[in-house]
Symmetry: none
Amino acid sequence: MKRSSETTAKATAAGSDKYQRILDAAIEVIAEKGFFHSRVSEIADRAGVADGTIYLYFKNKDELLMAAIDSAFHGFIGRARTELSKVADPREKLRKMAFLHLQALGSNRNMAIVFQTELRHSAKFLAQFSHSLLVEYFDLIKGVLREGQEAGVFRAELPVKIAVNCFFGAVDEMVTSWILSDRDRDYPLSNLADVIVDILLKGMETSAKHGS
Amino acid sequence: MKRSSETTAKATAAGSDKYQRILDAAIEVIAEKGFFHSRVSEIADRAGVADGTIYLYFKNKDELLMAAIDSAFHGFIGRARTELSKVADPREKLRKMAFLHLQALGSNRNMAIVFQTELRHSAKFLAQFSHSLLVEYFDLIKGVLREGQEAGVFRAELPVKIAVNCFFGAVDEMVTSWILSDRDRDYPLSNLADVIVDILLKGMETSAKHGS
Amino acid sequence: MKRSSETTAKATAAGSDKYQRILDAAIEVIAEKGFFHSRVSEIADRAGVADGTIYLYFKNKDELLMAAIDSAFHGFIGRARTELSKVADPREKLRKMAFLHLQALGSNRNMAIVFQTELRHSAKFLAQFSHSLLVEYFDLIKGVLREGQEAGVFRAELPVKIAVNCFFGAVDEMVTSWILSDRDRDYPLSNLADVIVDILLKGMETSAKHGS
Amino acid sequence: MKRSSETTAKATAAGSDKYQRILDAAIEVIAEKGFFHSRVSEIADRAGVADGTIYLYFKNKDELLMAAIDSAFHGFIGRARTELSKVADPREKLRKMAFLHLQALGSNRNMAIVFQTELRHSAKFLAQFSHSLLVEYFDLIKGVLREGQEAGVFRAELPVKIAVNCFFGAVDEMVTSWILSDRDRDYPLSNLADVIVDILLKGMETSAKHGS
DNA sequence: GATGAATGAGGCTTCATTCAT
DNA sequence: CATGAATGAAGCCTCATTCAT
C-alpha cells in the first residue's frame, strides 16, 4: 500500500483498522471545525496515528474528505436500495427513502454536518460529488416516481426530474434545519419523514381545490 | 454594512464607491474560487483598490463575505416583500416568491454560486446567517401559509414550519442543480417557478387519491 | 513588485537594499551549509528580513540560488571583458583571465565554495547554468585563442574548443583545490595564474622535445 | 560491474548480492535525480529489496552515496595502476591515464553524472572524498610527472602539484562538457585523450616561441 | 537476515493583516 | 483616506529511519 496512490486501501489488511479510524476521525474533526479549519494533525491525533500515516492511506487532505463522504454515502445508498426493494407501493417507497435519509443523518450529527456544509464548500467540489454520487440517489427516486406514474398513483404529467429535486430539496432542507438547531431536538429527525412525504404527495392546497 | 449610509447622497461624492466595488469584487472572486481559495489581494485587485484599503471598510475577510451576502440578501428580501404585497392570493404569493428567488439567483450566476456553496461553508457560518437573515425569508413564507390557511386555500392541518422548509428546500435545490449544470441552460431558471409550486400545491399523487 | 514573478527586481527601488541583502545572505549561508542544507529561514535571518519577504523578491529557494550565482557571475564577466580589452597580446589575455578568475573567487571564499560545489549539484542545474552563463566565459576565451592563432602566437592546429576546456578546467581545478585546503593559504590564489598559464602555453614537455 | 562476484568468496552464498545491487541502483537513481532528490525508497525498489534492507548494509543515505562512489573509484584506480605499469614512457602514461579516465566515465554516463555533479555536493562532502580518494589519483599522476622529470622528458622546473591539477582539471572538464551535451556524442569521449594530452605536453604556443 | 508499515520532525511556502508613508 | 511592502504564524506534506514481525 505504501506509496500507492489508491485511496481504496483495503481496510482489512494485516490487522489494521487505521483506514477506518482515520476516516472516522476525519468526519469528526471536519464536523466540528469545518473542512478548511480542520488540521491534518488533529485528525491524525484523534485517529491515534502519526501525521504521516494519513498519507499512506490518502493522497492528501482533499482526498481524505472525499473518501470519508464517499464511504458514508455508498453505505447509505446500498442500504436504501435494499430497503426500497422490500416495499411495493411507490408512495411507501418515497416514505421509506425520506425515512432512511433522515435517519441516516439524524443518527449521526457529525456526518450530517459534513453532508450539509462541507460537501458544498465549493462549486467544484459539489459538482464532483454531484456527478459521481448524488446521481445514484436521484436515479433511485426517479425510478420510484416513474414506477408510480405507471402504476397510476402519481400524476402522469408530473415532470419527474423536477419532482426529484423537490423531494431531495425538501428532505435535505429538514436536515439542514435540524443541524442548525443547537438544542438537541427532543424528537427524532426521522419522525418528520411522514410529514414531509404527506405534503409532497397531497400538496398544500385543500382537497376541495382539486378537480376544479 | 459599515459606512453604509446607503441610499446616501455621498455616493456621488469624490469617487468613493469603493465599498460597493469591493463587495462586487468579493462576490465575483468568491464565486470563482470559493471563499477559502479567494485571496484578499485578488479581491482588492479586481476592485481596483490596494490590499490595505479593504481593511478600511471591513474588519477582516470573514466579515467581507458576510457583508457581501447580507447586502445581496437584504436587497432580495426587500424586493420580495414589496412584490408579495401586490399579490392577494396566497397561492399566487408562493408562486411569486419562487419566481423571485429563482430569478434573483438565475440572473446572477456568481451570486447563486456564493449562496449555494459559500454560505454553507461551515455549520457555524451557516448558523450565523440562518439566524440573522434566513429567518426573514422563512417568516415571510410562514406568513403566506398561515394567511392561506385562514383563507381556506391551504390545508388547515398543514404543519407550517415544515411546509416552509419544503418550499425553501425545493426551490433551493433547483438553484443548486442549475449552478451545477455546466451548459448554460437554455431556459431561464425562473421558468421553473410554476412547475415547482404546482407540485407543492397539488402534490404528486393523482387527484383520485384525494378525499379518502 | 508584489506578487510579481520577476526575479530581476530593481534593487534600487524605494530605498530598499533588501534584494541585495538577501542575495548576499544567500551566498553566505549556502557556502556554509550547502544549498540543500540551507534553510530559507536562516537566509532571511541573516538578511534581516522576514521569511516571507524572500518570496517578494524570489519565486522560490531555487531561483534565489540561481539569482545569487547569476548576479555574481555577470559582474565577473563584465569586469573580465573590460580588463581583457585593455590587453593586446593574446597570451597576456589568457594570463589576465586566469588572474581575474582566481582573484574573483580567491577574494571571496564563500562565493568560491558556491561556484565550485553548489553550482554543480545536479546535472540539470549545471546544464541550465552552463547554457546561459558559462558559454559567455567560454566564448570569451575562444575569441582570445582564435585571435592568438591569427596573430601566429598560438599553434594553428590547436583545437580551440578543447583548448578552452583545458584552460577552464585547469583554472577551475585550482579553485577547487584551494577551497578544499582548510588552512588559509598563505599566498593569494591569484598568484597561481602565471604558473598555470605557463604550463598551458609552453606545455609540460622539455623544449628539446619540440620540433620532433 | 553489476553482480560482480569478484574477489568475494561469499558472493556465491545464498543469493546475496544485495550489497552490490543496492550500490548499482544508487548510482542509477542518483545519476537521474541528483542525490538530494533521490529517495531511499526508489533505490530500494530498483535494487529489488525492502527499504529497511538498505539499512542493513549502509548506515544512512549519505554513506550509501559515499560507498557507491568509493566502490566505483577504487575499481578505477586499481585498473589505472595496472595499466600504467605496463607503459614505460611517462608521456604515454599520461596519455593512458587520460584515456582510462575518459573511457571509464564515457562508457557509463550515469557514473559520469554522479562524479561530475553529486560528488561536489557540498564543500564538506567534496573535501571528504578529496582527502580519502582523490589523493590516490593525484599521487599517481604526481609520480608520473616526477618520473618524467627524472627521465628528462618533462621540464624540470615544472611545479608538479600545480601541473597535476592542470591535468586533472583539463580531463575532468571534458567529462563535464560531455555530460552536459544532450545529444549523444557521435565520437567516444576517450578519443579526446590524445588531443588533451598533446595540448598539455606541447602547450598552446607556437613552437617557435620556445627556446627564446 | 528481510520486510515495509509506521513514524514524526521539520521545511517551504502562503497569505491575512498591519502600519509607516 | 489610501497605499502596498513587509510581516510571521502556521499548515501540508515529505521522506529518512526504525522496529515489530
